[in-house]
């Protein structure tokens, strides 16, 4: 243990063991995952994101929403996410293949958003929630994303429009080959 080369080689070995064992093997298994139909001949899922939603993800990231919101539904055997109504089925790797940056998150100060788009009824509902969250909600108001129009009504800025389009696009309302919706 006096030889610096030995220590370096050993440390490199231990690091590469986990790098190959977890990351590279994970890449071999999942790296070429693509969209797929739940049943033969069905439509391909996940759906491509609308352009506005892709911009909205950047707003979501730049406001640090991921500090309080996750986007993953755990299987029923690993937590009560499905029972809480966060989603109709658990998330699978395929759900994320189209996302340029994956925002799984690690803390739920607010609710999980993986299926948020399917839970809200309309974009207006999201706008209203962003501007003035219900009393008792731990979420701050994002009123600064809105300007006041000529008639005094609040008008969403481009950022707000994109963010809402993104939030509306968050849905797991389709079956995946790995996890079927219960009909």
């Amino acid at each position: 243990m006096k030889n610096i080369k030995l220590i370096f080689a050993g440390v490199l070995f231990t690091l590469s063991a986990s790098f190959i064992g977890i990351l590279l093997s994970g890449r071999v298994q999942l790296g070429s995952l693509g969209r797929a139909p739940a049943e033969e001949g069905g439509p391909l899922f996940p759906l491509r994101e609308p352009g506005l939603a892709i911009q909205g993800r950047q707003v979501y990231i730049s406001l640090g929403c991921v500090a309080c919101h996750t986007q993953q539904v755990r299987p029923a055997s690993q937590g009560s996410d499905i029972a809480k109504g966060y989603g109709p089925r658990h998330s699978v790797a395929r759900d994320y293949v189209l996302q340029s940056s994956v925002l799984l998150g690690s803390q739920r100060i607010g609710p999980d958003l993986a299926n948020y788009g399917a839970r809200v009824s309309s974009e207006n509902e999201i706008h209203a929630h962003l501007r003035s969250p219900k009393a008792g909600s731990a979420m701050p108001s994002y009123d600064f994303l809105y300007t006041t129009g000529k008639d005094g009504a609040k008008v969403p800025t481009e950022k707000a429009t994109a963010l809402v389009a993104y939030l509306k696009s968050l849905k797991i309302d389709y079956s995946s080959p790995e996890a079927k919706l219960n009909q």
Partner: protein, 226 residues
């Protein structure tokens, strides 16, 4: 080179701990000797290395066990531990009965009694060729393979008194499905193939149980008319 100035971090408390302070070079050298010649064995301490080795082995054993039980066959598409294993590891590919695999398994598992030609042995092992037991109810044949059957039974007018063990209990759902599909299509038999999900369903329904008697199985699934 000794460090004479070990007390400044305690302006108010010239503490007992500090009087022990040693120089860096002595510290390094003393431990360097320790690493080379092991510490003198002391009472109650000499057992430690052996215990440590045992604990390491125990951990290693447990790790292997845990991984084989909880890795779902290292499948890339298994995310839910409670999901049925077969569905998970087959993933998006649907099960297709494979008659060639079925034949191979039949020759390994079944042919010693039922014979490769499916005619069985008179008096002991009933035939499968041209038998309603094989081509009739899917549930019945799967149940017999999974749980076994013992007692006197009548097949095509002949009496047999054999004892079939629960061969299917040790096979996967897909393997059982391949065997059944083969039996139902070989030697002139013409019946629908069986899916692995059907086997899984039956396996779940009967749970772990002993062999059937011919009377019991016929009560559940009466023999079809030819």
């Amino acid at each position: 080179m000794t460090d004479q100035h070990h007390s400044p971090d305690q302006p108010r408390r010239p503490s007992a701990g500090d009087s022990h302070s040693v120089s860096d070079s002595r510290l390094v050298e003393a431990h360097s000797h320790l690493a080379r010649d092991k510490e003198e064995p002391k009472e109650g301490f000499s057992l430690l290395p052996i215990i440590v080795v045992f604990i390491f082995c125990g951990f290693g054993f447990w790790a292997g066990l845990y991984l084989t039980r909880n890795a779902a066959g290292f499948s890339p598409s298994a995310f839910d531990l409670s999901a049925p294993r077969e569905v998970a590891s087959d993933g998006p590919k649907a099960f297709e009965p494979d008659l060639a695999k079925g034949e191979k398994l039949f020759l390994q598992q079944c042919a010693s009694c039922h014979q490769a030609n499916g005619l069985g042995v008179p008096g002991a092992f009933p035939p499968l060729a041209n038998s309603a037991w094989a081509t009739g109810s899917e549930d019945r044949i799967i149940k017999i393979i999974l749980a076994g059957i013992a007692g006197e039974m009548e097949v095509n007018g002949m009496k047999y008194n054999g004892n079939m063990p629960n061969i299917g209990a040790g096979l996967k759902d897909a393997q059982v499905a391949n065997i059944v599909s083969y039996v139902r299509s070989a030697w002139g038999n013409q019946a629908e193939a069986v899916m692995d999900t059907k086997v899984a369903e039956v396996r779940k329904a009967i749970g772990s149980r002993g062999q059937y008697s011919p009377k019991e199985i016929l009560e559940q699934h009466p023999l079809e008319a030819k």
